[in-house]
């Protein structure tokens, strides 16, 4: 049983390796198959190895054999698709080895698992081919891809067009001119060097304005002399650029700022050039102040109403006691003047 099983296992493992598969390029898959060979199969397969092995071999051989179609499979995948497929395959393998099944059950389950995994791989690859293969719509992208035939990872040149078009930019005088050279696929490409911005004079002459890693060029406080043609270029490690974009810049007259400066000491240059003209106060502020005002007035009205209700509807004795308290205060006030008058009358008759 020992040598036969060993042969069986070796054949099983051997089949998966040279078939030109993609997932097999990953070290984790190789390790998992080695573990299956050395640890699982010797203890779980007893008889009919030859016939069984042949069935497994056939299934495995057809696993990675997909037809070449432009929207489905071109023999290449990217790192992300590889990762997704490998993790799915390992998960499925672990489920089987954890279940501890043997002999016929094992063969049946394993074959079914391979069928499902092949379909999953086909779906992953088709999605990659449709959405992530050469995602640039212009220019030249260097995309790192893995070739399924030999597991080599190399840069594929995605050529879509020689340049990425012309953009018309309008900017107001004294505001900032921002030229943006970045396209969404730049972050996915390899082999990129620097963004260079040139000012274009006429048909044959250019001057370099800036060169670096930042994809935007900002010119603050533009004047009429800044209008004209510009060109940005993203270089690569090869002789050609990845992207070339032309800009036609028009400088419009300065925008009129309606709000007055907060301080008379500020000169015009110190004013922020990006000051927004405030033609009307912001709608949120208006609403907020209205709400607060309403709340205050509502509260006042409520208080007045409460007081009125108290005065009108309280029981009579309470009202009388309040009234008498109020009157007592008034009587006490003139009482202090009355004793002075009778004193004068008394002294007058004693003189006779």
């Amino acid at each position: 049983m020992g040598p036969q099983v060993a042969l069986l296992v070796a054949a099983l493992a051997g089949c998966l390796l040279p078939a030109g598969g993609c997932v097999i390029c990953d070290q984790r898959v190789v390790a998992a198959l080695d573990a299956l060979e050395k640890e699982y199969l010797p203890t779980h397969m007893a008889e009919r190895q030859g016939q069984v092995m042949e069935t497994i071999r056939q299934t495995v051989r057809n696993f990675w054999d997909l037809p070449y179609l432009e929207d489905a499979f071109m023999g290449v995948i990217d790192e992300a698709t590889m990762e997704t497929s490998v993790l799915g395959f390992l998960r499925s393998m672990t489920l089987i080895t954890n279940s501890d099944i043997a002999d016929d059950t094992f063969v049946k389950e394993f074959s079914w698992m391979l069928t499902l995994e092949k379909a999953a791989f086909q779906r992953n690859v088709a999605r990659f081919q449709r959405e992530d293969f050469c995602p640039n719509k212009c220019g030249m992208m260097l995309q790192p891809l893995i070739w399924c035939s030999n597991c080599k990872k190399q840069l594929h040149v995605c050529r879509k067009s020689t340049d990425c078009g012309v953009r018309h930019i309008n900017v107001h005088e004294k505001e900032d001119l921002v030229l943006d050279c970045e396209l969404n696929w730049h972050k996915l490409s390899q082999g990129l060097t620097y963004y260079s911005f040139y000012r274009v004079w006429g048909s044959n002459s250019e001057t370099l304005v800036s060169k670096g890693k930042r994809p935007t060029l900002t010119k603050p406080l533009v004047g009429p002399e800044d209008a004209g043609d510009y060109r940005c270029e993203l270089g690569t490690v090869r002789s050609l650029p990845a992207t070339v974009i032309h800009f036609e810049v028009t400088v419009l007259p300065q925008r009129i700022i309606e709000e007055t400066p907060t301080s008379n000491f500020e000169t015009e240059e110190q004013l922020s050039p990006t000051l927004q003209p405030s033609e009307y106060p912001k709608p949120e502020k208006v609403l907020r102040s209205l709400l607060v005002g309403l709340l205050i007035w509502g509260f006042v009205v409520l208080m007045i109403g409460f007081v009125t209700a108290v005065l009108c509807f309280l029981p009579g004795n309470v009202m009388d006691s309040i009234k008498s308290w109020l009157l007592a205060n008034k009587v006490a006030a003139p009482q202090s003047q009355v004793p002075k008058v009778p004193k004068e009358n008394d002294t007058a008759p004693s003189d006779k």
């Binding site: 499979f73 071109m74 023999g75 035939s149 030999n150 190399q154 594929h156 050529r159």
Partner: protein
Amino acid sequence: MGRWWQLVLRLWTVVPIWAGDKLLDVCMNTKHHKREPGPEDQLYDECTPWKDNACCTASTSWEAHLDVSLLYNFSLIHCGLMMPGCEKHFIQAICFYECSPNLGPWIRKMDLAGPGERILDVPLCQEDCEQWWEDCRTSYTCKSNWHGDWDWSRGKNRCPARAVCHPFPHYFPTPADLCEKIWSNSFKASPEGRNSGRCLQKWFEPTQDNPNVAVARLFASTAPPWEVSYSLLAFSLYLSFLS
């Protein structure tokens, strides 16, 4: 009679030179070639070596680089994407075919009726064929002659029904097979090396001068048209009989 001999001898030397000039600095008559070779400053990437004198336009040079070349709707990716090293050789070969003004001695008519032309047996240097073959070992194809028998039902060529994709060496066992069979003998695998001056390079460094100019001149001058030489021979024999 001596003067007749002198005249014949002069004719003998003049005619090859006259015929030779018509073979130098010419462009094939095909859909994409220019009428006359000339400088082109906007040639793309692998076609730049021919910028000083080219039979291709800037847009033709761009199209030579596409996986599915718009020039002939031919797909290089009929068995999946080629390895970048292999693809480069094909692009260089297409640039050579479209741009070189030095293919005159090998231009032939496609058929006697029409105006179309092709090249036949252009001797490529040994290093060119060998490097091309070596770099394409890990790429795949499904036919050994790329000129006929494709499935064109979907606009681009696809492998015909029973043609299975195999690595290049399966269909092209040797570098000579690759060079010669891929475009039905447009190229010939020359046993000569690059510095011999007796074979053409399908690509050269853009900073270098075109080394194929001298080679074309050599092949043009050593091969006078056989009809003219036969008639001259007959005439001179007739003259010798007369005298």
